[in-house]
């Protein structure tokens, strides 16, 4: 078997100083194979976003190693990390986080402005990404002119346009109605199936988790990966 795309070794994450110490993740290990579709569940405040941020290398662990796409990201400098994220990470947020002053097209194009591409190549990539998410006809719309579901699909197009190694989605349907959520989930499923993208998706929603192939449950700083313990566990744990 090939090397896992994500390998987390003895990772701990502690917030706060001596007195207000909160250990959100304690000594976690995790491996995710290429092409996997993982649903990460757990009560609110259990550290799901924190774990996702560590994989995305927008945050650093207090201790342990995070190896993603063959790179120990804890060893990289800030500027190396920026370039690394650009190549390897596609991040999808709960609240879409599109840039309000840019159109759908320009939002998708944004990450590509960092690479040396001819404008024709760039255009082709943006158009493909918008086609995949089914929003070619909305490319000139600004985020405020789109529905939540459409905004999230633009955000997904932005995340996949650079053809990243890993797609990370933090409660991507958390703010959507059932129909929009369904279309976003089907889209993610298709990206995993058809384009063989490795996906890690945080979700509260058992129905959302159904689309994944593997389930992880985070609670009290520990990761439980026994599928039998998984849904419908999500949401049942105590807060904090």
């Amino acid at each position: 078997m090939s090397d896992p795309v994500v390998r987390i070794e003895n990772v701990s994450k502690v917030y706060g100083g001596d007195r207000l110490r909160v250990e959100v993740l304690s000594d976690i290990d995790l491996e995710i194979e290429e092409g996997g579709f993982v649903a990460l569940m757990g009560p609110s405040g259990s550290g799901k976003t924190t774990l996702l941020n560590l994989i995305a290398a927008v945050d650093r662990p207090t201790s342990g190693r995070v190896v993603v796409a063959g790179q120990d990201t804890t060893q990289l400098s800030e500027s190396e990390l920026a370039a690394w994220r650009h190549r390897n990470i596609g991040y999808i947020f709960q609240l879409y986080n599109l840039i309000p002053v840019l159109t759908a097209y320009e939002n998708v194009e944004l990450p590509l402005t960092l690479s040396r591409l001819s404008s024709a190549d760039r255009r082709a990539k943006v158009e493909t990404a918008l086609e995949v998410v089914g929003l070619t006809d909305r490319s000139d719309h600004f985020p405020r002119e789109l529905s939540g579901g459409q905004e999230q699909r633009v955000a997904i197009a932005r995340a996949i346009v650079t053809d990243p190694t890993v797609l990370l989605a933090d409660e991507p349907t958390g703010d959507l109605d059932a129909a929009s959520a369904g279309s976003v989930l089907r889209l993610l499923e298709r990206l995993n199936d058809e384009f063989e993208k490795t996906i890690v998706m945080v979700t509260h929603d058992p129905r959302a988790a159904d689309h994944a192939h593997r389930f992880l449950h985070l609670d009290k700083g520990k990761l439980w990966s026994d599928p039998a313990e998984s849904p419908p566990v999500a949401g049942s744990g105590g807060e904090g």
């Binding site: 920026a82 690394w84 994220r85 990470i89 986080n97 944004l110 990450p111």
Partner: protein, 383 residues
């Protein structure tokens, strides 16, 4: 990224406009102050230094006896003396564009004192020969479309007489074209019209050498120490600057004003930019998640505020240019000094550079802080 910078500029148009406007104001003030300073401290030329002006010791409003003329001519080192009386009449109406300097003088000596003045000999003779005639600077004659033989009418304001004068020719003043905005006519003619009071506003003396200027000044003042009308003698520059003396140390004052303006506008722009950038903390974190580096974030914010600075600078310089032009045209009648007022390229460049620098720095400071903020913190920020 360029597109993003541009859109961010347009995102809050009122705020951008306000910031551009405050920078415009600052640059405008800086440029006008700079232009005034340059006007009050003109580069001194040798020929003008060699002239001494003699006027009433109390004030320019008082006249001197005509008899002083021949006595001044007897002073050592003085090569020529010519009377100049500011007539200050109204030509056509009181609109500024019809204002120009009008001097009653002596045609025979005027050119001996003002050697930079050029006039062709036949014109000179024709002027000399006709008491009612006048000569005009070429610039002024062209402005009003006067032809030789044309008659103009000046309504007396200072003196209780009107004048009707005939143009006999034009003069040029190659070394200083601002001198071409005046007319000269016969002192004797004005005297006659006034019933021969025998008075003169000022006497202008050409001195043989620069080194003799202080001696002549001293000798002239001494000469009339015990006369009915004591005189004040000064160099041409001192004479021109005498009305600015009331401002005290103009340079220091203007410098302080300029500095205060720059500092306060810097706080305004820096604060506005800081607000604009802080509001975008979450977006900046998103950009960083997408792979934008600190340098790109910082560059974007700095470019945005530099554009604001540049716009403010250009507008400020333009407005200053307009004002200076208007002042040069409108005020030169009352204060001939203003006719030389221009916005030097060095002053304009300084204003532009100040605006650009202020703008860029206003973005750089909050941009630097933002670029270093943790991504996670920015992403967690709601709104």
């Amino acid at each position: 990224m360029r597109k993003l910078v541009w859109r961010n500029l347009l995102r809050n148009k009122r705020r951008t406009l306000f910031t551009v406007a405050s920078l415009t104001m600052a640059v405008f003030l800086l440029c006008v102050l700079g232009a005034l300073l340059q006007t009050f401290n003109p580069e001194e030329t040798e020929t003008s230094e060699k002239r001494v002006v003699v006027r009433h010791a109390v004030s320019l409003q008082f006249e001197l006896p005509e008899a002083y003329w021949s006595r001044l001519e007897t002073l050592e080192h003085v090569e020529a003396v010519s009377p100049l009386s500011w007539f200050g009449g109204i030509y056509k109406d009181t609109r500024p564009e019809n204002f120009f300097a009008q001097f009653a003088t002596d045609p025979e000596t005027l050119l001996d004192v003002f050697q930079g003045m050029e006039i062709d000999p036949t014109t000179g003779e024709a002027w000399l020969a006709e008491r009612r005639s006048f000569i005009a600077g070429r610039t002024l004659a062209e402005k009003h479309g006067w032809q030789v033989g044309d008659e103009i009418f000046l309504q007396g304001e200072i003196y209780p007489t009107d004048l009707s004068l005939v143009l006999r020719g034009t003069f040029t003043y190659p070394a200083d074209e601002s001198q071409e905005n005046q007319i000269f006519f016969h002192h004797a003619y004005v005297e006659e019209a006034l019933g021969n009071p025998g008075t003169v506003g000022t006497f202008w003396l050409r001195v043989d050498d620069l080194a003799s200027v202080p001696l002549v000044i001293e000798a002239a003042e001494e000469m009339f120490e015990n006369s009915e009308a004591r005189v004040k003698a000064e160099t041409e520059q001192a004479f021109a600057a005498s009305f600015t003396e009331m401002l005290g140390n103009v340079e220091l004052l203007f410098g302080a004003i300029g500095f205060a303006v720059v500092v306060s506008v810097f706080f305004i722009t820096a604060n506005t930019m800081a607000m604009a950038v802080r509001e975008r903390l979450r977006e900046i974190s998103v950009l960083k998640t997408l792979g934008f580096g600190r340098r790109q974030i910082l560059g974007g914010v700095t470019a945005e505020s530099a554009v604001i600075g540049f716009l403010g600078g250009v507008l400020g310089v333009l407005f200053a240019l307009l004002l200076v032009k208007a002042a040069a045209r409108g005020l030169s009648g009352m204060f001939p000094l203003f006719s030389a007022m221009t916005l030097g390229p060095d002053v304009a460049l300084l204003g532009l550079a100040a605006a650009l620098g202020l703008g860029a720095l206003s973005g750089f400071i909050p941009g630097y802080a933002m670029a270093r903020r943790s991504i996670v913190e920015g992403l967690r920020k709601v709104g």
